[in-house]
Symmetry: C2
Subunit: 320 residues, 2 copies
């Protein structure tokens, strides 16, 4: 009789070993997994960020494959390093899961992580696996500044053009679809399962001299709000400049909902938003607004077409 | 009427802000919490390690104060950097907790982390807080090699002296006490709540030329087993050389259990074990065994007084 091998049966240590074995390591890594710590070299200063994904808060097993979840765990974290204009180098993962989780789930999850890590150009150098009541994934990514100053949230100045790269509203549209039991349009559903992070574009922005940058995890308005607040200037978003992707429009029409809400307030797409001197916006980035001088709007807030936005500004994940 | 403010009421973002505000940062940190990533400088290569603590697996709220848990989360992680002979620099924390957790618990936990981080000489540079069914804490610590090669597990050679520094068996004795509803001897109970890590001694061992090193998280025999296995040589532990601390003996007598079991197989004390050339053991370290030549014992195992150890070798935490 075929049986499912669970985490409890495999045990904590063999699972870790089987996972870390044969992982490809970047050239910077001088000691990979299997010791008390991993060792690697960095060029310049270190940039670090951490994010936690919890089952039923950030993903659902019935909606996402283990590969999706593994990819997402890498993507959302690397995105933070991109948003600093830095180069991701290495990541570590803390994984806790119930004892009755099929070991195959954990293995496929790790395969997803490994695949996305390769895509993002980062080495998975270590981890810790333990028991817990739900799947909880904590990833920390370490990057290097490699000769460029980190791009912070507080550097926007009046007159800057605000530009974005990556998807907006696609993951939010996908969430609405999954919540109603639909599986298409596929692009939206896939984006909710794992965002397509514009890898390398954070570095492009830094090289272009971006003044401020953030990754859009909570929603365009909410995250631009962080730039506005920390820089001390208002931002005005021009909705006619926003690209509402075709699948987002389709979901809007099918559900009778306004797709602009997803573009402005939907999170989890992990697009990048940055501000540049006029004319300094790199190729491929879309200008969607500008940073206002304080004599025009004194309050460091985010306006939409010059007006306050009365609807939701950001995203707080689904709740079970 | 006095009420308890919960995590749900405070919300995710205000809590993070209130936690990271006013944290002291080391001189190496050029950008602290509050952006997409924190930035700091390292001397030499980067060493990274991650550990996860789950409520009811690694700690119990009825046994430990939030401060204890916060201290422990730092201590067990920094210990891994120490075990590489590196200098801890920065740490990040992923914290997930139920919405009905009193916000004061999270604040006291963070205060515990901050206090232990200061003691360990490491800066708490960032974090992520999210909802989850039980308290889950994932800490990643980043250290620097600062001019010394990392001390790995695989460098032990025949003839080496095996030495330890820090407590052995104290946390295991404390666990037995807590499990039976006792609160003394205090030293044992405290060690279970948060180990006293011998901060700085990993660096001392590296400077003394340690060949191999590990932190004892799973139990002396289990962890020496990793050195033996990865180095390819057997290790013989001499029980008469072991120091059984007075509180460990006391708990043994009170419970009728053999305290040697806790010293050899009890985990969670986060003592350090290392191997050195004969005569090269630093002050304060206790020699407890030696690395055997393959013609004496071919199998890279750990013996106790020259014999196989038939009882448990290591530790897998309590289970609820």
């Amino acid at each position: 009789m075929a049986t499912t091998t669970t985490m409890s049966e495999v045990g904590e240590f063999p699972l870790i070993s089987s996972i870390v074995k044969d992982l490809p390591m970047g050239r910077a890594v001088t000691l990979g997994p299997g010791d008390d710590g991993a060792v690697f070299q960095v060029d310049g200063s270190v940039v670090v960020s951490t994010d936690v994904l919890v089952e039923e808060v950030h993903f659902r097993r019935r909606w996402s494959t283990p590969t999706d979840v593994g990819r997402k765990a890498v993507a959302v974290n690397v995105s933070d390093i991109e948003a600093m204009g830095a180069v991701p180098v290495a990541l570590v993962v803390g994984f806790s899961a119930p004892g009755d989780l099929p070991a195959s789930w954990a293995r496929e999850f790790m395969a997803g992580m490994a695949g996305e890590a390769e895509k993002a150009g980062v080495s998975l150098v270590g981890g810790d696996t333990t028991a817990g009541p739900v799947i909880t994934i904590a990833v920390s990514v370490i990057g290097q500044t490699a000769g460029l100053a980190p791009v912070r949230r507080d550097g926007a100045v009046p007159g800057d053009e605000v530009a974005v790269i990556g998807q907006l509203g696609l993951a939010a549209a996908g969430l609405v679809l999954l919540g109603r039991g639909f599986r298409s349009p596929r692009a939206a559903v896939s984006a909710q399962r794992c965002p397509e992070v514009p890898y390398g574009q954070g570095r492009v922005a830094a090289q272009a001299g971006a003044h401020a940058m953030i990754d859009i995890s909570d929603g365009l308005l909410a995250d631009l709000g962080h730039i506005a607040e920390q820089s001390g200037f208002a931002i005005d978003v021009t909705t006619s400049a926003l690209d509402i992707a075709e699948p987002v429009r389709t979901v809007g029409m099918a559900t009778g909902m306004d797709p602009l809400t997803w573009v402005l307030a939907g999170g989890e797409d992990h697009a990048l938003a940055a501000t540049f001197s006029p004319g300094g916006v790199p190729d491929g980035w879309r200008v969607i607004g500008r940073v206002l001088p304080p004599d025009e709007v004194a309050d460091p807030t985010v306006l939409v077409d010059g007006q306050p936005w009365e609807r939701e500004r950001g995203w707080t994940h689904f709740h079970s």
